[in-house]
């Protein structure tokens, strides 16, 4: 059953990714991108990594997709206009794909075929974040706070000199 589910999800994800890359209207591409992310989250669920899947939905659909949508709306006047093919982008995508494939195939340290799936509870992830990875976590927090303050500074109303 899980292999059937995997094939279905993979088809959905790949089709949505293809749509995101080829659809003529920018907004349609964004929405297809969101569907791709749902597919990836579902794949994580299938692997028993519920937490990662949920965070993916939460962050990427709840925040990043909305951010992209806002960016498009606020920066472009021709939202509804068709876009042409971007050959540089295609080249870059092929380069990234090739690099990733090469890296994955060369990897020796991690077994590519897992023996069995072990579900890690959320509690374990939290403990790991708060003990072994507490410094990276704090650095991330500091960085995000700095970004927040920076955003505030950017939008602060300038006092007019009378």
């Amino acid at each position: 059953m899980s292999s059937v589910a995997f094939v279905l999800l993979a088809i959905l994800t790949l089709a949505a990714a293809l749509a995101a890359a080829t659809l003529q209207k920018l907004m349609h591409a964004t929405l297809s991108f969101a569907v791709t992310l749902v597919g990836i989250a579902a794949l994580f669920f299938l692997l028993g990594a519920e937490f990662v899947g949920l965070v993916l939905v939460f962050v990427y659909i709840g925040a990043v997709a909305v951010l992209i949508v806002f960016t498009i709306l606020l920066t472009r006047r021709d939202v509804g206009k068709d876009r042409g093919a971007n050959w540089n982008g295609a080249l870059l995508a092929i380069a990234v794909f090739g690099g990733l494939t090469w890296a994955i195939l060369k990897t020796q340290s991690v077994a590519i075929v897992g023996s069995h799936i072990r579900v890690i509870p959320v509690k374990r992830i939290g403990e790991a974040l708060m003990t072994s990875y507490v410094w990276p976590l704090l650095c991330m927090g500091l960085l995000l706070t700095a970004a927040l303050i920076g955003a505030l500074v950017l939008v602060m109303e300038e006092k007019r000199n009378e």
Partner: protein, 408 residues
């Protein structure tokens, strides 16, 4: 004496039977499938859960839509719907038939597919969120390890759905309404989630069942151990409730569909059954958020008095849900609509600092021993921060004539 004990035995068994009757019915239905392979049973079990969930909440939606109008009528000194059926109780049927036979109008320049998908997505998100709430003892439709996280992850897709409705309609009012809705939903998502954090911290789990289980029992055999009876819990509950009000776009925070300004916001170009779907999604979202509030702070399906524990657990849950929904309607009948800048200021300057204070107060409560001492210390923290915040935000002296920057 013997009579008494038999009576007590019967009493206990009857109440236990009533408590578990729905669970037993489900087991009985599944017992027909003992010969079938495991995955068939799993799918059948999920389908039963989904069917029960939809049946209960869609009927609750019908009931709520008429009750809300009745209560609003009572508040405004008029009758409310009273023509269809006894006391107007069949009004939802009439509304449903009217919505179904109405013409479905799609604007010529609209993005047909996006326009069509938006109401479906928004309703699906609301229904999914309902799936992880424990409605009674052993009555959680879907137990997920990170149930609370699932609730918010699903809820966050609503923003994209609202945007799809606004953009797909190709209408300026729709787009403005969607922008307002997304802006206020994103702003209030922060306090909504941060006020859940203290509960998760104190319980040590993201599973709704564990959170309900942590609120079992009574202090001094009298006051239930619900989180709302701790200072941090009470503050978090109020903040959560207000944020929930914003998330479900209800008065006084219903600027996204302010009739006097932008027709009906992102729902302007929807008619007939698609509009009804939006309406339904709004109510289902409201049920989900109040249900989560009851689960997190009001002890879920636990009874408030130990003497009343014989009443089935789901009755208690729906009683709490009903009480919270009544407050929603009451607020709608009482408060005027706020301005968008007031909503935003309130979110970032008051709600956010207060919800962080709740996290700290919960930590203080935990480290001071969870007893009376912790209670007083956490109260102290909240009172100090509240006083300082209200002094800082005091705008009494700073009232200036309103400045119109874009419309002179």
């Amino acid at each position: 004496m013997i009579n008494d004990s038999i009576d007590g035995f019967l009493h206990r068994n009857v109440s236990k039977f009533a408590d578990q009757v729905f669970v037993n019915v489900k087991h009985w239905l599944l017992s027909w499938l003992t010969a079938a392979p495991g995955w068939v049973v799993q799918i059948a079990s999920s389908l039963i859960n989904i069917f029960a969930l939809l049946a209960i909440f869609l009927s609750l939606f019908a009931l709520m839509s008429v009750l809300e109008r009745k209560i609003l009528g009572r508040i405004q000194n008029r009758y409310g719907p009273n023509r269809v059926g006894p006391f107007g109780l069949l009004q939802p049927m009439a509304d449903g038939i009217k919505m179904l036979i109405k013409e479905d109008i799609v604007p010529a320049r609209a993005d047909k597919l996006v326009h069509f998908l938006a109401p479906i997505l928004i309703a699906a998100a609301a229904i999914l969120a309902l799936g992880v709430i424990p409605y009674g003892r052993n009555m959680t439709p879907f137990t997920i390890d990170g149930g609370i996280l699932f609730f918010f992850a699903v809820g966050s897709t609503t923003e994209l759905a609202v945007f799809m409705a606004g953009w797909g309609s190709n209408n300026k009012f729709s787009m403005l309404g969607a922008m307002r809705a997304i802006a206020q939903m994103i702003s209030y998502e922060l306090p909504l989630i941060i006020t859940v954090l203290p509960v998760v911290m104190v319980v040590g789990s993201l599973t709704p069942d564990r959170i309900v289980a942590a609120q079992t029992g009574y202090t001094f055999g009298l006051v239930p151990r619900w989180f709302v009876f701790t200072p941090w819990g009470a503050t978090a509950f109020i903040l959560f409730f207000v944020s929930g009000l914003v998330e479900s776009n209800r008065t006084p925070f219903d600027v996204p569909e302010g009739e006097s300004e932008i027709v009906a916001g992102h729902m302007t170009e929807y008619s007939g059954f698609k509009y009804a779907t939006f309406f339904m999604a709004e109510y289902l979202g409201m049920f989900a958020i109040t249900g989560l509030a009851a689960t997190l702070f009001l002890g879920g399906w636990h009874s408030p008095v130990s003497a009343l524990e014989f009443i089935p657990s789901y009755v208690w849950f729906f009683a709490k849900l009903g009480a919270l929904l009544f407050v929603y309607v009451w607020l709608r009948g009482t408060l005027p609509r706020t301005r968008i800048d007031q909503i935003m200021n309130f979110a970032w300057k008051f709600m956010l600092p207060m919800s962080f204070t709740c996290v700290i107060a919960a930590a203080v409560w935990h480290y001071a021993g969870r007893g009376l001492r912790g209670w007083l210390w956490s109260l102290f923290v909240i009172v100090v921060v509240y006083t300082i915040l209200s002094m800082l935000l005091d705008t009494q002296r700073k009232f200036a004539p309103r400045v119109y920057r874009f419309a002179e």
